[in-house]
């Protein structure tokens, strides 16, 4: 594995399998009486969140605490911290106090690479604008793997606003690398042109996407990113793309239904399906902590290697 986790593209299949296997072992820790291991005692992790987040941030925070790392929580509204040099200076200041790993969320694509350049320590990208959200893709992969015991050959339908979704982008890379068949579906205006080149299929019919699917992954309709007029109307979207019982019934009997959250109830998914027995949405949240613990473990355990350079 590389030093940092910026996106999924740089992970090999072996890396992905190592992360899956390690996440499985860390899941058990959260079921213990003392939900904590001493592994990262003395390590300091900085959560550097320049864009809003609840679940991702809490998940990272819990993961760090369950590994016994010390934690710095840094957040700033986008307006108070400008990009470019001031980001650099802020990172330098934090580094001067001794940090072993950064977790960064920022609206600018590539910001996690910038932080790594400045800080020189491992960085985990917790979402950089529309570009990537690798830890979400990894926890999704882990959740699918726990249910299906394999990834290769599964049909995964990803439905919604593909264009603005970093979750979709990261999932496409991880799932195709592991040999899944990925079918994208959404309004034509919200599916990037030539995305088939990434090895995925595209359909504009939800029924076709859901047919015989092993996994139905709904995306959040990112209403805050829809100022460009690419979104049809809410009514049309709901009619054509919302996941309901009828669409789920087209999938395989053991289909699992996923959503990265937060949900727009009734828009991309109806609540009955979100809380359906085939839904694994809450499990995704649980698995997120285990996956992030595994990543902290894998990225921080470099000891001598790091002092050597």
């Amino acid at each position: 594995m590389e030093k940092s986790l910026h996106d999924i593209e740089n992970l090999t299949r072996d890396d992905l399998e190592l992360i899956l296997a390690t996440s499985e072992q860390f899941r058990e820790i959260s079921e213990r009486r003392v939900k904590k291991v001493p592994t990262l005692r003395g390590k300091t992790i900085c959560l550097f969140f320049i864009e809003n987040s609840t679940r991702t941030r809490i998940s990272f925070e819990l993961a760090a605490k369950r590994m016994s790392a010390d934690l710095i929580n840094f957040s700033a509204s986008t307006s108070s911290l400008q990009k470019g040099e001031s980001l650099t200076d802020t990172v330098k200041t934090i580094m001067a106090m001794g940090v072993d790993l950064f977790v960064i969320r920022h609206s600018a694509p590539g910001s996690s690479r910038r932080v790594e350049q400045v800080a020189g320590v491992p960085v985990i990208n917790a979402g950089d604008g529309p570009h990537a959200h690798p830890t979400q893709a990894l926890l999704d992969l882990f959740t699918i793997y726990r249910h299906k015991k394999k990834i290769e050959g599964l049909k995964v339908a990803i439905i919604g606003d593909i264009y603005h979704s970093r979750v979709a982008r990261s999932n496409i890379f991880s799932l195709t690398r592991m040999g899944a068949e990925v079918v994208l579906c959404g309004p034509p205006t919200l599916i990037p042109r030539e995305i088939e080149k990434l090895g995925v299929q595209v359909t504009y019919s939800v029924d076709e996407a859901c047919k015989m699917a092993d996994v139905i992954m709904c995306l959040r309709m990112q209403l805050e990113r829809q100022q460009s007029g690419m979104f049809p109307s809410m009514r049309e979207y709901i009619q054509l793309y919302r996941i309901d019982e009828k669409r789920v019934s087209l999938a395989k009997d053991d289909v699992i239904i996923m959503h990265p959250g937060p949900m727009n109830r009734g828009v991309e998914i109806i609540p009955e399906i979100a809380y359906h027995h085939r839904s694994v949405i809450e499990e995704q949240v649980t698995n997120g902590v285990a996956t992030r613990m595994a990543l902290f473990y894998l990225l921080l355990g470099r000891g001598n290697e790091e002092t050597a350079d």
Binding site: V37, P38, Y297, L300, G301, G303
Partner: protein
């Protein structure tokens, strides 16, 4: 130089001796076995099987101490984390902790810390197949199959389940 110091029959005999040595600690319904990954877990399973043949049942837990090591920041790559599975309550139980080789004592130190996070056992007893000396911490086995003096060598226990055969080797010099 690699020298076999115990073959399959001798390994079985050592395990039986350990079981016999443990008998005074075993209380039905109040004793649990925890084997350290990976060969300690295999050994613990064998001991339990032997006891089952005598009509006594004890639960088996598996412990991976990787996350409790004291050298995490010194080893190069993060070591592979293996399964830990303790499906029973260890509160007020006599825990029989099992490992293949006792050497520096650091693995046992880590295991004791980890066990404590699962509950407060009444007692913890340590059973090992081989004690090779060389302690760096004040930890001793309560039951030991065989003591092996090694000044420059290494002891390698092999188990059928993990290595294809039951044997104990003394390895010296370049073969280490």
């Amino acid at each position: 130089m690699k020298k076999k110091i115990a073959d399959q029959a001798q390994v079985s005999k050592l395990i039986s001796e350990c079981v016999e040595g443990l008998s005074r600690y075993l209380v039905d319904g109040k004793t649990v076995f925890i084997g350290i990954q990976t060969r300690g877990a295999v050994l613990a399973k064998r001991m339990i099987r032997e006891l089952a043949a005598q009509g006594r049942d004890f639960p088996l837990g598996i412990l991976d101490i990787t996350l409790y090591r004291d050298d995490f920041t010194q080893v190069g790559k993060s070591p592979v984390v293996r399964e830990t599975r303790i499906d029973f309550d260890i509160e007020d139980q006599v825990v029989i902790l099992v490992d293949d080789v006792l050497y520096t004592g650091r693995t046992i130190r880590a295991a004791l810390d980890e066990i404590t996070d699962f509950g407060r056992p009444r007692q913890v007893k340590l059973a090992v197949l081989i004690d090779r000396g060389g302690r760096e911490l004040p930890i001793q086995a309560d039951v030991c199959g065989q003591q092996v003096k090694t000044s420059d060598g290494e002891v390698k226990v092999m188990m059928k389940e993990t290595d294809g055969e039951d044997a104990v080797f003394l390895i010296r010099g370049e073969d280490k």
